[in-house]
Symmetry: C2
Subunit: 336 residues, 2 copies
DNA sequence: AGAGACTGCAAAAGCGTTTTTGCAGTCTCT
DNA sequence: AGAGACTGCAAAAACGCTTTTGCAGTCTCT
């Protein structure tokens, strides 16, 4: 049995109150007593019980974080999807949390309300949720603050803080860039539009096309997005009577899949087909040609979300909508 | 204030003992009482306090996990390094933990002992640690079990469970493959050899070279490994009087960097230079040419580590050394 | 019919902290 | 010298559960 505060008090010849005060730097304690207690604690190797402390302070300095829990290609659950974007959001959140001595808890992907409630967390960050996650159930969000990245479109209750990019504008940025480079018939490949980022991008695309009198051409692929599904979607687009001359994808992996399939079909990129990804990533720079993408500052997204959540926990308030800017990184795949 | 067990007891007209027993399925309770309590709990929206429960059970069903906490290229701390390997280990651990209702806590990268002790975890998984991490301090590992992936070479205390690949054999597998394909002067590029996987690979390489009477040529690059550092290391190797005809790297990112630099130097791969990575990854299949790698089953590594840790926590015992097999995935970068 | 087993529930003892309150004793001032 | 402020510490009340123990009352036997 590890030593308790009582053992330290006995060893130092003081009350447990005094021990607590010394170790937490509270109260008025004489220099002499302070030294005695500190020494006794060190000699016993005393470490305050986290559980007892958390019970009384009602804080755990832990944030739950759930990344759009897709199922990966091998049908294995991926708590952290294999995507630079989520990884960067996670790292941004981790960095911000770390600075204020918070930890990040990856909750089981398939956990229901009861299982979620078994974890001691002060709040949760939901990255690109749909809104049907158990975190939105009253039993969870009544007591603990929630921050989302992207809007939870199916959420039954309002969320106090939403961190988001203006992805409608991002779509326009990319499409204008394609038009500037002489592409006349951009098509779009998207994943499941039940998440707001995909919905926004599609909305941006259809709006833009509408203004120009173009017929919007959108191929939606099934979850989970696979290389085969992407190839098949590209095939559907290319088989149309009026064949698109550029493809705009909602994620980096789709863009990589499109490039791969284009190469297989001996389509020249960027000559015969332009490719642009709505989410930039380091991996888009390692291809040849390198792929154009919209950089959405994922690290900042994660960081702002974590910071807002901690503010909500500690101060009870935070900015309710945080918009992170986007930037187009033009590369070879759209330069003809 | 959320309802407590006392509120439920009052509403159902029973003692708190009975409420606890009903909700946890313990003890002998009549069907009628059971229903009354269940209804009262549901009506009040009662959720047992995690903190109180954890205090008395002394369990949090949470595992700390720390991934070789390097610093990434931009000098930002990366709790989850941008590498398929770590991501897969993490997902493997998450999946295994999820199955048994455990969560995974990413602890602050720079946390000292006191800050680590502020988190309620039942044990920790250290992925490729060096041994100087605060988890190895007596104040931590005395009370809680520890499992490592790879051997913590500088650890002050023995670790109850180590999950590892036979990377000496992995190196030989790759080198034999290179020799079979006609490469005669393989060189090696490695990261920091203070982690056991790099040390083992280097040992495997020098042993293999010694047996064949070859002079081992090893370039070690500084932490953190960058594209520039890799390019520079490759340059050093190529400038030697006897120029290597193949490069064996300790990680996927090094291999990608080598391929990139080789292309820049107009070196033909695999013709003039063979490339093999000691750690396979999905990204090695997206390059052209695709890169040969040794698949080390990272998902299984993470899964076995988490399972062993949970066994240690619940049963107090687990297999002490777990070896995960390796497999060579030969691809275009070594096929001449 | 009486002994023993069984049933259904409550009382109470923790679990190990934090924090408020209170109380002697000592200082400082007029 | 006496009032008031200040100092250094302890007592005790939470925090909200789990779990052991005990105790009536009811059954089941011989």
């Amino acid at each position: 049995m590890p030593p308790t505060i009582r053992d330290v008090a006995a060893a130092a010849g003081v009350s447990i109150t005094t021990v607590s005060h010394v170790l937490s730097g509270q109260g008025r304690i004489s220099e002499d007593t302070r030294r005695r207690v500190t020494r006794a604690a060190a000699e016993l190797g005393y470490q305050a019980s986290v559980h007892a402390r958390q019970l009384v302070t009602r804080r755990s300095r832990t944030l739950a974080i759930q990344l759009a829990n897709s199922v990966d290609a091998s049908n294995a659950c991926a708590l952290v999807p294999n995507s630079d974007y989520f990884l960067e959001v996670l790292n941004g959140a981790a960095e911000a949390a770390s600075k204020r001595s918070y930890g990040l808890l990856l909750t089981p992907a398939d956990a229901d309300l009861d299982r979620l409630n078994a974890f001691a967390v002060d709040g949760a960050i939901l990255v690109d949720p749909r809104g049907d996650e158990p975190f939105f159930a009253t039993g969870w969000c009544r007591d603990r603050p929630l921050v989302t990245t992207g809007r939870a479109m199916a959420a039954p209750c309002p969320v106090p803080v939403v961190v988001d990019n203006d992805l409608v504008a991002a779509a326009r940025l990319m499409l204008d860039h394609l038009a500037d480079n002489g592409y006349e018939r951009p098509a779009m490949i998207t994943t499941d539009t039940s998440r707001s980022y995909a919905a926004d991008l599609v909305a941006g695309y259809t709006g833009w096309a509408g203004e120009r009198g173009l017929e919007p051409v959108v191929a939606e692929i099934d979850e989970p997005p696979t290389a085969e599904g992407t190839a098949e979607a590209l095939g559907r687009l290319l088989d149309r009577p009026v064949c698109p001359d550029a493809v705009f994808t909602t994620s980096e992996n789709l863009a990589l899949g499109v490039l791969h399939e284009a190469r297989r079909r001996r389509l020249e990129v960027p000559g015969e087909l332009g490719i642009g990804s709505a989410v930039d990533s380091g991996s888009l720079q390692l291809t040849s040609p390198q792929i154009t993408g919209v950089f959405v500052h994922p690290r900042e997204v994660g960081g702002r979300a974590a910071t807002a959540l901690m503010d909500l926990i500690e101060a009870g308030a935070a900015e309710s909508r945080i918009e992170v800017p986007v930037r187009l990184n033009a590369r070879e795949s759209t330069a003809r």
